[in-house]
Amino acid sequence: MTISQIFETMEYGPAPESAGEAMDWLDGGARRFGHFIGGSFTEPGKTAFDTRNPATGETLARIAQGTPEDVAAAVKAARKAQGPWADLGGKGRARMLYALARLVQKHARMFAVLESLDTGKPIRESRDIDVPLVARHFYYHAGMAQLQDSELPGVAPLGVCGQIVPWNFPLLMLSWKIAPALAMGNTVVLKPAEYTPLTALYFAEICREAGLPKGVVNIVTGDGDTGAALVAAEVDKIAFTGSTDVGRKIREATAGTGKSLTLELGGKSPYVVFDDADLDSAVEGLVDAIWFNGGQVCCAGSRLLVQENVAEVFHAKLIARMEKLRVGNPLDKAIDVGAIVDPAQLDRITQLVSGTAGEVHRSSAALPEGGSFYPPTLITGLASSDRLMQEEIFGPVLVSTTFRTPAEAVSLANDTRYGLAATVWTENVNLALDIAPKLAAGVVWVNATNLFDAAAGFGGVRESGFGREGGWEGLQAYTRARAKAPPLKPVLPTPAPARYDAPEMDRTAKLYIGGKQARPDGGYSRPVFGAKGGPLLGHVGQANRKDLRNAVEAARGAKAWARTTGHARAQILYYVGENLWARRAEFVERLGALTGAKAKETEAEVETAIDRLFTWAAWADKFDGAAKGVPIRGVALAMNEPVGVIGQIAPDEAPLLGLVSVVAPAIAMGNRVVTLASEAYPLAATDFYQVLDTSDVPAGVVNILTGAHGDLAGEMAGHFDIDAVWSFSSTDVSALIERESAGNLKRTWVNHGRARDWLTPAGEGSEFLTAATEVKTIWIPYGE
């Protein structure tokens, strides 16, 4: 085409980024790569697979398939390196992380080109988004290491972390995993995705350039089997980003092992457009929401909810915009949408879309021959019940429906098993700030989408996983309390003595559900005897799964509690404390009868329980969120939101104090609880509900069941409408709870058979605050 012809057509023409240097690097490794273990690359083994360029199908390199032995060797190297790495101190590690940040910047273009070659994402994205965010993440966490000693005293590294990252942001997810882990003194074994191992291998090289001690970072390549081997290996932590299905398997596989776990999983994130929004900007936002990285983004705004009165004009604008998108060679600098990562993923997208009942609008953008490409697509006219409105497509396919009112928008937005991200477009600040907290998501963007920063926590709720990456909250995934707790001995109910006295007055302890005393559904009760062959103290109902169901329904119904002000919750907790104080003598006596403890001990338990109620009353209006210093004109608010409905198994050994210690922090933060009382000494809990009844605690906020921990733990963990389970039972139910929680991927906090001294500060404090809240990051850019 001549210049004068181009003058007439004004086409874009090709603008390719050179792949020369990246190809030279691959050639330098003879296009065969081993694992990076203990500071050097292993020989590429016999078992290997190809990694390909999805835009052309060409093979880029042969990659070693990691065996369990390879994983074990890497874990061994990491274990050996971990002590010295932790001992280096925060400031010593800060310098290493700073060097990594600098080296990422020095090799920025190499990383970007390799990433685009391997994933098919446009060079614009890898160059302008992924790689700068990677450098930012290492800088930020260099700072966290620097400040660790002063700001985070009392925390210890977890040890060796197994980390498994996906193929959509191979290097960025590597940085999100490695930077905080290293900062806090852990060492890592990271497995990049099978499709996209190259940037991780190049990163291994810069670890050497940075002078990182051998074994601090280890990279083992391979497929899902290698990942499974890593999950099963002797690691202290698994951090996984990927599909919800695999996340579920990892939850099951690690259940009961004591391995720390964070999961960042799938999503079907709503993108809500109100009628007063800047519609053109909202359309442009969708380009960055669903066509960013070809929609292969866990937090992609893939579910458009547009207000009915502007839906027609909005769709028209969107369809016009789709026509301007350029699909093609990922290394072209003027390409909007690159290749789908692998033909298998392309098939999956194609199959999901085929047969939809909706109206399909495809961009007529020309697709290159030969590679793995899918056109930008919009499907309108769908209802919530359509499969494509519920299932993650993980491709450049946007589905759309309409709503009429803000309340309906929230209801539709939350009508999903996922809860990763959400986007809201409106020019009305009242509406935006009203809607954002109501959306079930870990991240909400107002009038923007897909904004990320190391300072702002990222992560989901519901089946999008748990744990946060980024910010102070992200460090919790890589640290633990320094003190290690002793084992917890089983505390068993006092067996029936051969002879015993009956109570003077038969009092009926019931279950406490929805603010009412309820007889157990099954109609069974168990006698409770005093300690050391004491009298028959009474009976307690044996709750079954239906009682649990009723209690969860009551708790779900008490949703207004979450919106009650902290001040109001504090007043109620103080009032509970006051009323417990008024009846302290009765509880002292009851505890003594149940446990046989001396008066001094039971008095201490009651006093501490009152004190604890006051402590959580104090916290109710003080667990502030944060305004994060993100590099935009705007704020990223980290809001501490209640988790929702928490199932709790109270400690056996401290029947009153243990109950109060788990219930109070949860309700102080706005949660509703279904709490299974001490199995051994349940009558303290049934007495306590009378205190609740006289203290203005709204019905359904606290529900108390009695029964066998072993019988109900699994039911509780498996209940789809419970958002989290805490267990401090002396029955060995930790593994069961973790395994059963995989169903809806609820958060779990279990004792793994370790004791906690409820009389000491270990029975309160930041662990409880953290477990009782989810950090929601709300991004609010501003400016007129």
Partner: protein, 362 residues
């Protein structure tokens, strides 16, 4: 090739001090007349083969409903240079297109007839003939020449036979605060002197006080005074306070019959920017969807680099479409931009980095 206008270049920034006035250092004699690329001259009530914008009634509900989210618009503007890139022959062709869209401008108190003659000669032959020949586009001219009223007649004479239109800034340019009847009369005088395009300035106070009816009436009157001459409405966006005001003013002027909407006089503290351009282009697009009329767009002031011009063209192409990549619907109000483009084009032809003194000045 090429003068790689590299992606490492910083993004476009406003150039507060860089007005549309002609760089005083530019000098040069008349160039021999050559064959000209066809220039579409204004036709009665037709505009690039399409009906000229007749305007509509003032629809206040639409004015009030305008939304412009500044942060989102800035993000789009900031990422655009990274999303679009033209290289090699395409870059050369696009830069030539940019030249064909320039309103080559001098708006200085010391303008003289001789100075304007030199400028017109540059408009006829904006790039050295050998370079144009090498590129295969002999006879390229700028889109128009833009001057004050007193320089219209000399410009018309100097451009005689070239087909290059003369645009006159008018209505008390740049502040627009002279008596209304004089502003109207000024339009008539310039049209009588041979200007076929009139760049009017709006009364910013009507925007700032929300007096949309007054703005509409003023624009209507200017349009009528222009008669067959095309009218470009200068919004002086740097003085309107908000992007939402830019959107509202764009709509009022289009409803009142503006043929073009234009950002700036070049005399405001901030002149053409990408965010402002995005808002105005989106208004133009919506106006076409609502009325069927295509209104032109002219960013002016602050566009001095070839790389900037390419970014603007990409924005036009993506936001408005290829139809707007024509002098009938798009102009750059610029003075020093041409010099930078000339250097890039010589580099494209020779493979060597160029120098300013190798290109004749205006």
């Amino acid at each position: 090739m090429s003068e790689e206008i590299t992606d490492a270049d910083p993004g476009l920034r406003p150039h507060p001090q860089d007005g549309v006035h002609q760089d005083a250092a530019h000098r040069g004699g008349p160039r021999p007349e050559g064959a000209q690329l066809p220039q579409v001259t204004p036709q009665a009530e037709m505009h690039a083969g399409a009906p000229r914008n007749a305007g509509t009634a003032l629809d206040l509900s639409r004015i009030r409903a305008q939304a412009a989210n500044t942060s989102a618009i800035e993000r789009r503007a900031a990422t655009l240079p990274g999303r679009r890139s033209v290289k090699k022959d395409w870059q050369a062709a696009w830069l030539l297109k940019a030249i064909s869209l320039i309103d080559l401008t001098t708006l200085s108190g010391d303008d003289t007839e001789g100075r304007v003659r030199r400028l017109c000669a540059k408009a006829r032959q904006p790039v050295r003939a050998d370079i144009l020949d090498a590129l295969g586009v002999p006879g390229l001219t700028t889109g128009a020449v833009c001057v004050y009223h007193d320089m219209v007649a000399p410009a018309v004479r100097a451009l005689h036979g070239s087909g290059i239109p003369v645009a006159a800034v008018s209505t008390g340019f740049p502040a627009g605060l002279s008596p209304f009847h004089l502003r109207l009369a000024e339009i008539g005088e310039s049209v009588a002197a041979g200007a076929s395009e009139i760049d009017i300035v709006i009364s910013r106070r009507h925007v700032l006080t929300g007096d949309w009816q007054a703005l509409y009436d003023e624009m209507r009157a200017f349009r009528e005074a222009c008669g067959q001459a095309h009218v470009k409405a200068i919004l002086a966006t740097g003085e309107l306070g908000t992007l939402r005001n830019v959107a509202r003013a764009s709509w009022v002027c289009m409803m009142a019959g503006a043929d073009f909407i234009k950002t700036s006089t070049g005399k405001e503290g901030v002149n053409a920017t990408l965010p402002v351009s995005l808002v105005m282009m989106r208004a133009i697009r919506d106006y076409e969807a609502a009325t069927g009329f295509r209104v032109g767009y002219k960013p002016a002031g602050g566009i001095s680099k070839a790389k900037d011009a390419l970014t603007y063209l990409a924005l036009v192409k993506d936001e408005l479409g290829d139809a707007w990549l024509s002098p009938d619907l798009f102009r750059f109000g610029a003075s020093s931009l041409l010099g930078d483009i000339e250097r890039q084009l010589e580099h494209h032809v020779t493979g060597r980095y160029s120098a300013a003194h190798r290109h004749p000045q205006a």
